[in-house]
């Protein structure tokens, strides 16, 4: 007799205790020859150092990718990555894309229809037809 135990593990709730930024690495690929990479080159020279200093939790890698359009690849903690081609963009527009990558989690884009998503159970419990005053059908 006695109570036995079932083996389970806890679920993490990012942000409740500690917050872990989901973007862990960003690769910046530029090209010295291609005209589409002009904005990217400017971004790397002028804006990237300050952005990288402001985000020490992201690992930044800058490397040339010759004869290709400039691209930014964000790597996330769930193992997925997101690539954004920034051809023919100005440095400030590229900054917006970089901020987009920084703010994203690695999840695939999902259409959200409901206003609330939660793992907590409801305060008043799930409605049961066998409790309360009942309803005449």
């Amino acid at each position: 007799m006695g109570v036995k135990a079932v083996h389970r593990i806890t679920t993490g709730r990012n942000g409740l205790g500690a917050f872990i930024l989901q973007c862990k690495k960003m690769d910046f690929h530029y090209c010295d020859w291609a005209g589409s990479s002009k904005g990217m080159n400017g971004f790397i020279k002028s804006i990237l150092p300050k952005f990288a200093a402001a985000h020490p939790q992201i690992e930044f890698t800058v490397s040339p990718r010759p004869s290709k359009h400039p691209v930014i690849i964000g790597h996330y903690i769930n193992g997925r990555d997101k690539a954004i081609c920034v051809r023919n963009l100005e440095p400030l527009q590229i900054l917006k894309k970089v901020e987009l990558l920084r703010d994203a989690s690695g999840e695939k884009l999902k259409k959200v229809t409901k206003p609330v998503q939660s793992i907590n159970e409801s305060v008043r419990g799930i409605w049961s037809p066998y409790h309360g005053n009942g309803m005449r059908v």
């Binding site: 008043r124 049961s128 037809p129 409790h131 309360g132 009942g134 005449r136």
Partner: protein, 259 residues
Amino acid sequence: MEAHLVRRPVASCCCRLLQSAASAAPASGSGMQQLISASKRLTITASPAAAPGGARFKSSTSRTKRALNVPPEPSFAKRQDKTTGIIFNPPSSSPSVFNTPFKFLPKSDPRRRANLPSLFTSSTTTKFGPTTGLAGPSSITIGNPPESDDPTLPPAVDPAADIARYRTEKLAVTPEMVAEIRRLRVEDPWTNSGVAMAQRFNVSHSFIRYATRGIRVQKEYYDDLKKWKEDKQARWGPRRRQAREDRARRLGMLFRGEL
């Protein structure tokens, strides 16, 4: 068509009802009356009866939506007399295990002290009567049998089982009886099974189990028992076997809280 839901008035539930148990039945009935009248008021079209009462079909989505509207709780209606008060609106859901019943709260808990009226309306926490010590096999709970209880409480699920526990007389269990039981068990385990001996000596089979503790019957008995079980199970067809396995799995799931 009414769904046939047999209801029993409950004295105290997880959410404490303010009205007494006796008036619970008519109160719910009036509630239902209100519901019916409200739904009647909502009927706009000339259809025979508004859903959910009769017609299952409405000509447009908005009409369906309108017909299936649930009227708000009457207690939320604007109060005419402007007196202050508390609206008690318990949820229509099963109580959660994280809401400890008043009886289970420890004495030091502030929720117990704050809930003093419950202390008087609930049943006494200590039994008035001969209290039993730590359970020994011969002591059986003595108290009021269920059928002589408060009639406002719902009927017991298995009165026979509960009556057996509520024996009003103590059984005369003697060391000689226990020795006899042990002797019989060793002598012929097949005839003197636990259930048979329980009937014979007018005790529970748990008591027989306690009394025969530590007895090792001959090994052949266990082998024969195993063989008897296997022979029985060999005669089952696939459906019966599956049904029994499902039953066992279902019980396992139940005890793990999955069902």
